[in-house]
């Protein structure tokens, strides 16, 4: 291993042009794969088609003729939507939307397509709620009163105060919600005349997120790269070094993404984040430049300085890159395919970085013109620098530092216990964004933009005509509506009640379920004779064996659906449905809940597996349980602090945070590995503990801090992103870098000093 490394480095120093040429050629070959890129923007594809929740959901949708993806166009007019202009717009927009490609025209639901069941002069009337637009205020008022008197409409198609309405636009499976939303936006009138239009619904949020995620990745990763370049230039004042650093990052990105694309695997949102991660990991080469600058200053011999540098840092670099690769590869144990792919892509990229560190980097270093090589004079640096003084303090105050560390860890542990696992895709957008505003406004006025279903399954045909069962369902609906986040529920019960009421000439005494199953059967039959077949199909199946309760939820929090399920179970335990009828949740809200649970816990499990693997690797590499654990500590500390803070400030532990946990695997061990490796090498040369520690803090410590600062600066720009997960990425990157650098340089010397007897036993002879 060591000899192979040595041979590689020697070859690269002897034939730099060859190395650079071959690297360029291979990069070109991978770059040629890029045009075949297939992008998958649907975060839900994290669950395979075969997962039980997807299959059950698909079955429920087929059974009830429902659509998985529904866009909601909200129209709000503070003076009430029942005016000739707005109503004409509703009719016109509905018609135009039905013509958009990808829209399931027959099931577009708006005031102009929804069936209203009313009693007109004693006749039963079933007709579109808005058939003809009245041309005067009076006609509009009549219509408004009629709509508001139909409980089926309130909260669904019109708000209780009459200022908002919605058009529900189901789209075909696979259609892009964002593109259709853009198509709808073009249909909106330029002269709003008091009307506000809002586009909401899962497909809009999901596909907007998917698209913007790619766009922001394309925008912010180059900016981050640029900031890192600028910082590098200020530190080393050498263009070649800057290029070398960026070349390592770019080549690893091109190779790993090229491989992914070349294999024909769609680039999912997860994998699209790999370039950022690789850029982060590639900054490892700063250690080489830092040491090289010292060594060249010492000897003035460029070739010898390269060999000396590489023999000093190649081992920690190899170990830290391997640890990173192992950490990411451990994600392949996750049950979620995009996570597996992401882990393997980053692991591959990390190995590429490792290879380049021993080939491309020395090749570039030998090509540098000596007069341009930055030089750091060591005498001053090592004895009187700020870092050297910091090293001294760390050793003297070792006990205090350890106690502070213990206290901080305890607080962090408390924070971790308060972590709330939740996921809400709408919160991935900033509060002022169009998506989030639309969602908020719609939820203020109507029943809710998030939809869930409760499927009531009986064991016999015609069970749903049994008045006892219908009353049980009605009781459950009323119970669920006690939760303020459940804005509206609606089921076949509501149709039966409505028909009973209307058939009895709007007599409130009959606003209830009739007493005989025959009556229910005839009402539903009557309804099927007059309304659209889909009206009935959506709430009850053909043999009247299963019924579907629609839930409109006012929040996309996975918690809301969890609460609905808990409330349902609690209610049914005291009010069981007759004849063993059972209730099962479904729908997009339920899907989101399961999806986020599975992805979150899947990530968490493989993350823990990654941690264990890294620890094993460290122990094996140092051939010492103590040293391995010591190196592992800063990683553990960093993670504990990050999640402690997440718990303490009450931020949801959601999907982006879960994904970012894996970042720490790749980044937080590096510094400790470098620190300990360099310290042990130094201590073997000069077995004076104090001097060796101060030297390590001052010299490799400088590389560590440079690396951390560079990186933190680069990713700090992400806090300006439009999507909150990116802001989280930025904050996490900065925090991981600074924390792990600080922990490595401040805690490790203290701990080594405290445990010197056990740790350093036999160290000199080793």
């Amino acid at each position: 291993m060591r000899r192979a490394r040595q041979r590689l480095i020697t070859f690269s120093v002897d034939h730099p042009a060859w190395v650079i040429g071959v690297a360029t050629l291979i990069s070109l070959a991978f770059a040629f794969q890029f045009p075949q890129i297939v992008i998958d923007t649907d975060p839900k594809h994290m669950l395979p088609v075969t997962s039980p929740v997807r299959q059950y959901n698909d079955q429920v949708e087929r059974d009830f003729g429902l659509h998985a993806d529904v866009i909601v166009l909200g129209i709000v007019n503070p003076h009430g939507i029942a005016n000739p202009t707005t109503l004409a717009r509703i009719v016109d927009l509905t018609g135009r939307i039905q013509h958009l490609p990808g829209v399931i025209a027959r099931d577009v639901t708006s005031l102009s397509t929804i069936d209203d069941i009313t009693s007109v002069d004693g006749d039963l009337a079933v007709h579109a709620a808005l058939a003809d637009v009245p041309n005067d205020e009076w006609g509009c008022r009549v219509l408004r009163e009629e709509w508001l008197s139909n409980p089926l409409f309130i909260g669904r198609i019109i708000s209780g105060d009459g200022v908002a309405t919605a058009i529900y636009i189901p789209i075909e499976p696979g259609a892009n919600g964002r593109q259709i939303a853009d198509g709808i936006r073009q249909l909106l009138p330029s002269d709003r005349a008091g009307d506000q239009f809002h586009l909401a619904g899962d497909p809009v949020a999901r596909d907007t997120f998917g698209t913007e995620m790619f766009q922001q990745m394309g925008l912010f990763s180059p900016i981050a790269g640029l900031v890192i370049c600028l910082m590098l230039w200020f530190l080393f004042r050498n263009v070649a070094l800057v290029i070398a650093n960026m070349a390592v990052a770019m080549i690893s990105i091109v190779w790993s993404m090229g491989l992914l694309i070349g294999l024909g695997i769609p680039v999912h949102i997860m994998a699209s984040m790999s370039p950022v991660f690789l850029m982060a990991i590639a900054t490892d080469s700063v250690h080489i430049f830092n040491e090289f600058a010292f060594r060249f200053g010492e000897t003035g011999n460029q070739r010898q300085a390269i060999f000396d540098t590489m023999s000093a840092v190649s081992r920690p670099i190899a170990v830290s890159d391997l640890a990173t690769a192992v950490g990411f590869a451990s994600l392949a144990t996750a049950p979620i395919i995009p996570v597996k792919i992401f882990g393997l892509v980053v692991a591959f990229g990390t190995l590429v970085i490792l290879l380049l560190s021993f080939t491309l980097v020395p090749a570039i270093l030998i090509l540098l013109r000596p007069e341009h090589i930055p030089v750091i004079r060591q005498t001053r640096e090592e004895t009187r620098s700020l870092l050297a003084r910091l090293g001294g303090v760390c050793i003297r105050r070792a006990r205090t530092i350890a106690i502070v560390g213990g206290v901080v860890l305890a607080v962090a542990a408390f924070g971790i216990t308060r972590i709330r696992v939740n996921n809400n895709m709408i919160h991935w957008f900033k509060p002022g964004s169009a998506v989030r505003t639309a969602d908020r406004v719609m939820n203020e006025h109507l029943g809710g933009t998030s939809t869930g279903y409760l499927v009531v399954g009986a064991s016999a045909d015609d069970a749903m005509k049994d008045p006892v069962l219908l009353r049980g369902i009605e009781g459950l609906q009323r119970e669920l509506e006690h939760d303020p986040r459940v804005g509206k529920t609606f089921s076949v019960v509501d149709y039966v009640r409505r028909i009973n009421y209307v058939l009895h000439g709007d007599d409130p005494a009959f606003d209830r379920i009739p007493d005989s199953a025959d009556a229910v059967g005839q009402y539903l039959f009557l309804f099927s004779m007059s309304a659209k077949p889909s009206d009935l199909e959506n709430v009850v199946d053909y043999p009247y064996r299963t019924a579907n309760i629609f839930l409109q939820l006012k929040s996309w929090d996975a918690d809301v659906m969890r609460a609905v399920i808990a409330r349902t179970n609690a209610y049914l335990s005291t009010h069981p449905l007759p004849n063993g009828a059972v209730v099962r949740p479904a729908g997009i809200a339920h899907f989101n809940m399961i999806w986020s649970d599975e992805v979150l816990w899947g990530m968490l499990e493989s993350f823990l597996a990654g941690l264990v693997l890294v620890l094993i690797l460290l122990v094996a590499e140092t051939r010492s349980f103590l040293w391995g654990t010591l190196i592992f500590l800063p990683l553990l500390f960093t993670i504990a602090l990050l999640y402690g803070v997440v718990g303490l400030i009450g931020k949801d532990f959601d999907m982006p945070v879960a994904v970012l946990s894996t970042l720490s695997l790749g980044l937080a061990t590096d510094f400790a590995i470098h620190f300990v490796a360099r310290f042990r090498a130094r201590y073997r040369e000069d077995p004076d503990l104090g001097r060796a520690l101060v030297w390590t803090v001052a010299r490799p410590g400088r590389g560590i801090f440079l690396n951390a600062l560079l990186f933190a600066a680069g990713f700090a720009v992400m806090v300006f992103a439009d999507l909150t997960p990116y802001i989280t990425v930025g904050v996490f990157m900065v925090a991981i870098m600074l924390l792990s650098a600080l922990l490595s340089v401040v805690f490790l010397p203290g701990l080594i000093h405290l445990f010197r007897r056990t740790l350093l036993k036999g160290e000199v002879n080793a």
């Binding site: 087929r62 059974d63 003729g65 013509h99 490609p101 399931i104 025209a105 027959r106 007109v120 004693g122 006749d123 039963l124 009337a125 079933v126 007709h127 579109a128 058939a131 015609d462 005509k465 058939l503 009739p514 005989s516 199953a517 025959d518 009556a519 229910v520 059967g521 005839q522 009402y523 039959f525 009557l526 099927s528 004779m529 007059s530 309304a531 659209k532 077949p533 889909s534 009935l536 199909e537 199946d541 053909y542 043999p543």
Partner: protein, 277 residues
Amino acid sequence: MLRELSPFNRRPCVLVWSIVAAVMILRCPTALSQTAALGLMNQSHLAYYYAGDGGHARVNMILSDGRGRTQTREFWIARRDIADMGDQNYYTYFLKPADVARTALVIHKKAQANDDRWLYVPALDLVKRIAADDRRASFVGSDFTYEDISGRLPSLDKHEAIGPDSALGRAATKVKSTPVNPKTADYAWRVTWVDVDSKLPLREEYYDARGTLQRRFEITKIETIEGIPTATERTMTNLQSGHSTTIRFTDVTYKPDLKAEDFNERLLKNPPAAFTR
């Protein structure tokens, strides 16, 4: 049920249309195919919706959701024509499913106005008038609309013969029909395969504005009953939802034992003796 113009009492009508067509052709050569097509569609309309002067039949209707689940309805249906291409009365008396047995529906179809519909709800022993302003609503929850059952006047569409073809193994003329006023129809255009012999619409395809095929109607069995070619088996398929409805006619007669009063809504709760035997 109720089809084919008997050659005797329809002849004057055909004659009139032929003269109209001839005049149109002479006056406006470019209107040739359109006028002839309208004539053909009128014949087809009479053959399919106004056969005999009325009649009745027992109907077995199977609704299928395209995923193996079905619902069956059984009912008697009777028709009485008041004028050819004009008003008609329909009477439907349900036998199955059991919980809707004795439910009855009467429709007074008006050529120039909204239909009148009354329903008898046995559970309430109540006759209720149903305000019906939409003939495009589903007929008893099936894939057929009221309009499919009682007919849409050919004059509401522009017709164009688009060539000979065949359907159900018979020679047919294909006619493309486009609504004059798009708001009166659910389809942007439809294509009808008109049987050259019987003039029955052997097949119809309904397209939406995007050019997507929405629904397909097919006659799958024609029997000659009392000298009148009668489509005794037909299916309407909704290609968008995958649903389909098949109806089969038995006990068809064009010489019904029915009186005008049998179509009176006030007698809806007392079905004609012919249907309760």
